[in-house]
């Protein structure tokens, strides 16, 4: 699970304990493959398409989706990483430090940008990401791909490409990695 998620969830300073496995590695692979096809279908190919993974949890998924796109279409889209810490709306409410570098070595002007994250929850990270993308140019469209949509949105944001819809309670945590998706809790 993303480090920022763990640090922000009570009991603070605890560790994630997995309770239920909800996706096996091969299911994740199939979901990535399907999402890649959906991205190509929606955008009529890969022309002017860029993939941006959110640090840190979305980066592996962005890489996997880009590789799948490459395998299907025979062309690798540009892949970037984005850390949204400086654009969050809770700066000053809690300790917030960026975790990993932002690297977008290509222009986003006129591109179709697919933002990729591991888990979609309140939508606040995505709002920050939309704000951050503005600093890099004006994409012709922005789409959202997530491995898990766990509900509980606090903002009018919805994903375009979803690996799995997963109903959860607010006190549960979802850990989505390449080697499996688990539901669990933070325990001390």
């Amino acid at each position: 699970m993303a480090e920022r998620e763990r640090r922000r969830t009570p009991p603070y300073g605890g560790v994630f304990a997995a309770r239920t496995r909800v996706m096996q590695p091969e299911e994740i692979k199939r979901a990535v493959w399907r999402m890649a096809h959906e991205i190509i279908e929606r955008n009529h190919g890969l022309d002017g398409l860029a993939v941006v993974g959110l640090q840190t949890g979305g980066v592996w998924l962005a890489e996997d989706i880009a590789e799948a796109l490459d395998e299907i279409e025979g062309a690798m889209p540009p892949v970037g990483t984005l850390d949204v810490a400086f654009h969050r709306d809770d700066i000053g409410l809690r300790p917030l430090l960026p975790e990993a570098p932002t690297r977008i070595p290509f222009s986003l002007d006129g591109q179709a940008v697919v933002i990729v994250d591991d888990v979609l929850y309140t939508g606040r990270t995505i709002r920050a990401a939309l704000d951050a993308l503005n600093s890099y140019g004006r994409p012709r469209s922005v789409q959202l791909a997530v491995m898990v949509d766990r509900g509980h949105r606090e903002l009018p944001i919805r994903p375009d490409f979803v690996g799995k819809n997963l109903p959860t309670r607010r006190d549960e945590m979802v850990d989505a990695r390449r080697d499996g998706v688990d539901i669990g809790e933070i325990v001390k």
Partner: protein, 312 residues
């Protein structure tokens, strides 16, 4: 951390944290729109009671790139000239409710005193001969960018150490990071208790020049000649200047640093300043990113505890 008054407030870990954050702000500065909303709604007041161009501009630019509002104040246009005391100036500034006050003053200790008088975070932007912590931080960041790490590096600080707040902050910062610092200066320009500093001292620049990774030149102020601390600037340059001939004796790749403003041809020869190993322009550029990091640490990242029971 609420204030940045001295490099000691940070320690090695704090310096590393500032450098890590500065990496992120360097990236921000390279974006087509180099501005983030991180400190929206915060106000940074500049209390500059001594002439300064680069430090002040650097802090202002850092604050603006973080979307903070900047309240300017400088001695020439302020009531300090009308005889207002520092206490009253600080009270007046504080009454306007800034979140941070950046203080530059010709007397040592003014930032410490200011911190006791205000609720705002106080950042020392240079006080007398005492400290200039953000300069030391941007120098550490520059060394880190160029040489990977400051640990184990041999850093030679040349010139007027006695009257230099930069030298004091740099010695503290460099040694905290594990660098080995040597001071090279005439005895008249060394501070009285230099033997208590964690440094080596040399009275000959030529003797130590071949054995360093960084040469850090300090500004030679012409008033020192009037005080008879050096016979003349020309003699100073002959003995202590980094001339082109001396630069040839530096190990290959050794950095030439200077906090600015530089007297071309006095501390460092013009051709050395324009050479590939001189980092003066980089130091200024890194200054903005490092000051963004300091402002963000004081006003953003560290300012709040997690409220109990809040959802992520």
């Amino acid at each position: 951390m609420r204030h940045l008054l001295s490099v000691d407030d940070l320690g090695a870990e704090g310096i590393e944290e500032v450098c890590r954050l500065a990496d992120h702000f360097t990236e921000v500065s390279q974006r087509p729109i180099p501005k983030v909303p991180a400190l929206r709604g915060k106000t940074v007041a500049m209390m500059f009671c001594e002439d300064s161009t680069r430090t002040r501009l650097s802090f202002e630019m850092a604050a603006r790139r973080l979307s903070a509002d900047v309240m300017g104040f400088s001695v020439s246009s302020s009531s300090v000239n009308k005889g207002e005391s520092i206490r009253d100036t600080v009270d007046t500034l504080s009454a306007m409710g800034p979140d941070a006050i950046v203080v530059r003053h010709r007397s040592a200790g003014v930032p410490q005193q200011t911190a006791a008088w205000t609720d705002a975070s106080v950042i020392n932007a240079g006080d007398g001969w005492h400290e200039h912590p953000t300069q030391a931080l941007l120098d550490c960041y520059t060394i880190r960018q160029r040489l990977g790490t400051a640990a184990g590096r041999r850093i030679l600080i040349v010139g007027d150490v006695k009257h230099s707040r930069v030298a004091r902050s740099c010695v503290t910062a460099f040694t905290a990071l594990g660098a080995k610092v040597t001071l090279a200066a005439p005895p008249t320009l060394l501070p009285p208790a230099v033997e208590t500093w964690p440094v080596d001292v040399s009275f000959s620049l030529d003797a130590v020049l071949g054995d360093c990774d960084v040469v850090y030149g300090l500004r030679m102020q012409s008033e020192r000649q009037a005080e008879a601390l050096v016979p003349s600037l020309r003699e100073y340059t002959a003995q202590w200047g980094l001339t082109a001939a001396r630069a040839d004796h530096l190990p290959p790749g050794a950095l030439v640093m200077h906090p600015g403003p530089v007297n071309r041809g006095v501390e460092i020869a013009s051709e050395v300043l324009d050479g590939p190993n001189a980092t003066l322009v980089e130091q200024v550029r890194h200054g903005v990113a490092v000051r963004m990091a300091v402002l963000y640490l004081l006003l953003g990242a560290d300012s709040g505890q997690i409220p109990p029971g809040e959802t992520p």
